[in-house]
Each structure stands twice: as structure tokens, then as C-alpha cells.
Symmetry: C2
Subunit: 278 residues, 2 copies
């Protein structure tokens, strides 16, 4: 359903904007894990929401995620060459078009949100913007760049991870619940789940960067090491990082206790994140 | 009022995101003309709207405009050195922070919109995103880059201008009217006004690039010529460009006929655009 809706939202065009639209489609359909849309839809379903109504928001999150990857890969940032097994967007389309494709995906993400039920649009726009902005993802990216090559202590590392990756993952869970019209208490539990899961997700990412091969992850391996980034393995070693990741997965599931067996899907997603291989 | 609201929306911070927030403030408070906020507020007032309610949307437009300038000035795009009389954002803060500051301003613009009256938020988000995206501003920027150095014909030139600049100016007028709850017919007239004004604004910009000095415009002069951009003066010469600009100003005012003397402010803005010196 997400793939189909993404294809509807990102049509082929033959106008003067053709190249940027092609770059957007190239990046979005390179085959991501769609973890953010899946989290949004699973949470929405758990809270009794309607999946069709939630689809534009699920796709909006994937667009925000993809835009952040395109801009992160630019030479001014991490200068990535390979992403999802194919050349990064600027390698394929040039820097100017890659920059604009990222901008356009972020813009289109908000346009997609405006299609949700009008009673939830203001809340959704606020959630996504706040999670993607300076108090969320961008704040994490700034710290990630500025602390590369420096000795980091744990609070800084946790800030980077919970902002760079955690904020948008937490927003995925919260937005699914908001669309379903969930009460404040439930939203609080789900936020706790999202927060632990987001942090675990980034630790798993750090471990994969060290341990895995680009033929499996589809992106430049050991790039964090090359850029001397602040990572869990660098601060704690791989074994302790893995222990902390799995501990966060257990914590995330504890936040779901009140849902009982209905939370099976969210628990399964947590387990998959804890056992990430790519 | 706009300056005060912008300062509220862009506070100083002391967190790890400090540098990007400083870059955002540097760019926004470098002293733009604020034409988009002024247009939104003037239209909103003309349609009987409440100025305080319209302020977040007015500021959102200025943020979108500023983000587009920051990204346009990056080395991958026009490689601008000077903007509003001071070094461009990447010259001052480096490329990575400039890129993220642009991203953050676009994101914050949508967050600001979410503060408007909830009944109009979905429409406002759609208007701004559509005008700033591939069918609007970004489409214009793509064509602007791809047609640099090539022989352009009039339809391409008009596409570039009406999209690159016109779309967001038209959206300014439309959003002011939408916040005031204007009827479809009135919105149509105001859209006509915005469309003519936006095109005239960019032609005036082209003329200033050729004729004016960077001490007056505050940006690199003759940069369009250096980059071999598709401009009105290049296609028609300065005198004919000026004639077309003033003709569009007259056309824009005709769309205001039904408002009578109440449209004085919008007419005055059109005259200022027609006589732009900076």
C-alpha cells in the first residue's frame, strides 16, 4: 500500500521539472526498509485507526527520511558514494539536482500531510516539522558533523542518536496514534516505545557500519569510521553496543505492556530492529 | 509585526544545534524586503482578515524565501558570494551548516503554519507546499539551472520566471485571502494580481542584475550575465524588459478593479515593484 501510494504521489512528468522528479523517484524507489511508514501504520491500526486515511502521512515520513539521506550524502556533508546498492543521488544526477530533489521531497512530504483528515492536519504538520527540524533530526545532524573527529562523552552521543534518527522514528509512532485519535496516556506509552526503538535503531546502524559489508547494507561500509563519527562502537566497543541495543529493545516493549497481545506487530518490529542485518 | 514574530519563531539557543540556529537567524535578519509577508498581510486585511492570525503564515513565507536563497547561493548552484550586503550563509558558516540552515527554515516554515487557525491549516500547507515544490519554485529553479548557457525561447523564459519567483508571490496573495475566508471569485481575481506581480518582480530583478551596483542591491551584480542565465534583458534588451514589466504592473492592478479604493495598498505595492531600485 505504501509503495502504491508513493508512486501516486511521485508521478513521472514530462515538464521542465522532469529531471528533479526523476531524481526524487530514483531515491525513493531505490528500495528502503520503509520502517517509518510501517511503524506509523502499525501504530495507527493498534489504536483503531483507518489505514487508508493514514497512508499519506506514512508516505510523508518516507519522503522526509529520503530527503535527509540525499542531503546527508552530498559532498558538503558525508560525501557518500553508494546508497541502497546504487550510486547516491548526486553521483547519478549531479549536486544541484540532488540538492533540489531533497528540498522537493521535504516540501512534498508536507503537501502529502495536507491530504489527511483536516481535523488532524495541524497536529501532524507540527509533529513532523518539530521532529525533522532543529529540535529533532537537523539538530542531530549538526551535532553529528560538529563532533566528528572529537572525543565525545555519552550525553553528546545520546543527543546525536536520539535526535538524528530517534526523533523521526518517535514521530512515526506518534503520528499513527494521532491520526487514530488516541488519548494522551496511550500517546505517552507509545512515545516511550518510539524513543527506545529509535535509539536502538541507530545503535544497530552503527554496529552494521563497522561489521557489515556494503554488499549487504547497500551503502559505503565503515564510513562512520572513515569520517571519525561519534558512534556507540567507538565509545563502548561492539559487544557492549549490542548489549545496549538489545536492552533498549526490551525497554521499548515494556512500554507496550498495557496493550497486551494486540501490540504483537509493534513488538515484532522491535525484534526485527534488534536483529538488523541491513 | 513581521520582524517581531520572526524573532519569536527563530530564538537564540545554546544547545548542540546552536550553529544552525545562528545561521538561520543570520540569513533571515540580514534585512530582506519582506515583500511576501507584506503581500500576505495586505491581502488578508483587504479581505477582512485578522492580522494577528495571519502573522505565522506571513513569517512562514519569508522563511521559505530565505531557504531558497541560501540553497541557491550554494557552490553547487549559483555560488553566490554576497547577499543583502553581507557574505552568503555558506561563506560565513560553511556549506554543511548552510545546507542544514536552509532545510531547517523550510521545515520551520511548515511548523509556523501549523499555528494558524486549524480550519485553514490544511489549505495553507497545500498552497505553500505546492508553490514551493516541483510544480512551483523548485520547478523554476531546475529550469533556470538547466537552461543556463542555452538559447531560450519566450515560453521557457516565462516558465522559469513564473515558477521560480511568481509561484511563491502568488501564494502569498492567495494565502492572505484564504486566512480571511475569501470566496472563490475574489480568490481568482487576487490570483491574477499575484501572477502578474510575481512575473513583474522577476523581470525587475533581471533588470537590476544588469543595471545596478552590488552596493545598492547587496548581492553580486551581473551574476545572471556571468552564469549566462535566461533573463528578460538577454532575450529582449533592457528597454523592452522595462516596458513589459510596467505593462504587467498595469495588468496586475486591473485584477483589483472590483475592490475599488480599498485595494490602495495592493496597488501601491505593485507600483513599488514596478519602480524597484533594489
Amino acid at each position: 500500500m505504501v509503495e502504491k501510494e508513493l508512486r501516486r504521489l511521485l508521478p513521472e512528468t514530462k515538464g521542465l521539472e522532469e529531471s528533479v522528479c526523476e531524481a526524487m523517484r530514483y531515491s525513493v524507489f531505490a528500495g528502503g526498509k520503509r520502517i517509518r511508514p510501517v511503524l506509523l501504520l502499525a501504530t495507527n491500526e493498534l489504536c483503531g485507526g483507518n489505514t487508508t486515511e493514514a497512508l499519506p502521512a506514512a508516505c510523508a515520513l518516507e519522503m522526509v527520511h529520503t530527503y535527509s539521506l540525499i542531503h546527508d550524502d552530498l559532498p558538503a556533508m558525508d560525501d557518500g558514494q553508494l546508497r541502497r546498492g546504487i550510486p547516491t543521488t548526486h553521483k547519478k544526477f549531479g549536486e544541484a539536482i540532488a540538492l533540489l530533489a531533497g528540498d522537493a521531497l521535504l516540501t512534498l512530504a508536507f503537501e502529502a500531510l495536507s491530504n489527511c483528515h483536516e481535523s488532524v492536519v495541524p497536529k501532524l504538520v507540527y509533529e513532523m516539522a518539530h521532529a525533522a527540524g532543529t529540535m529533532g533530526m537537523i539538530g542531530g545532524q549538526v551535532a553529528d558533523i560538529e563532533w566528528a573527529g572529537k572525543e565525545v562523552e555519552f550525553p553528546t552521543l545520546e543527543y546525536i542518536h536520539s535526535h538524528k534518527t530517534g526523533a523521526l522514528i518517535t514521530a512515526s509512532v506518534r503520528m499513527g496514534a494521532i491520526i487514530a485519535g488516541t488519548d494522551t496516556e496511550t500517546l505517552k506509552s507509545l512515545t516511550g516505545y518510539g524513543h527506545c526503538l529509535g535509539l536502538a535503531f541507530q545503535i544497530a546502524d552503527d554496529i552494521l557500519d563497522v561489521e557489515s559489508d556494503s554488499s549487504i547494507t547497500g551503502k559505503d561500509s565503515r564510513s562512520d569510521v572513515a569520517l571519525n563519527k561519534a558512534t556507540y562502537p567507538r565509545l563502548f566497543g561492539v559487544a557492549e553496543s549490542r548489549r545496549r541495543c538489545l536492552s533498549l529493545i526490551e525497554q521499548s516493549k515494556k512500554h507496550l505492556a498495557d496493550f497486551g497481545p494486540r501490540a504483537g506487530m509493534l513488538e515484532a518490529i522491535a525484534d526485527i530492529v534488534g536483529n538488523r542485518k541491513a
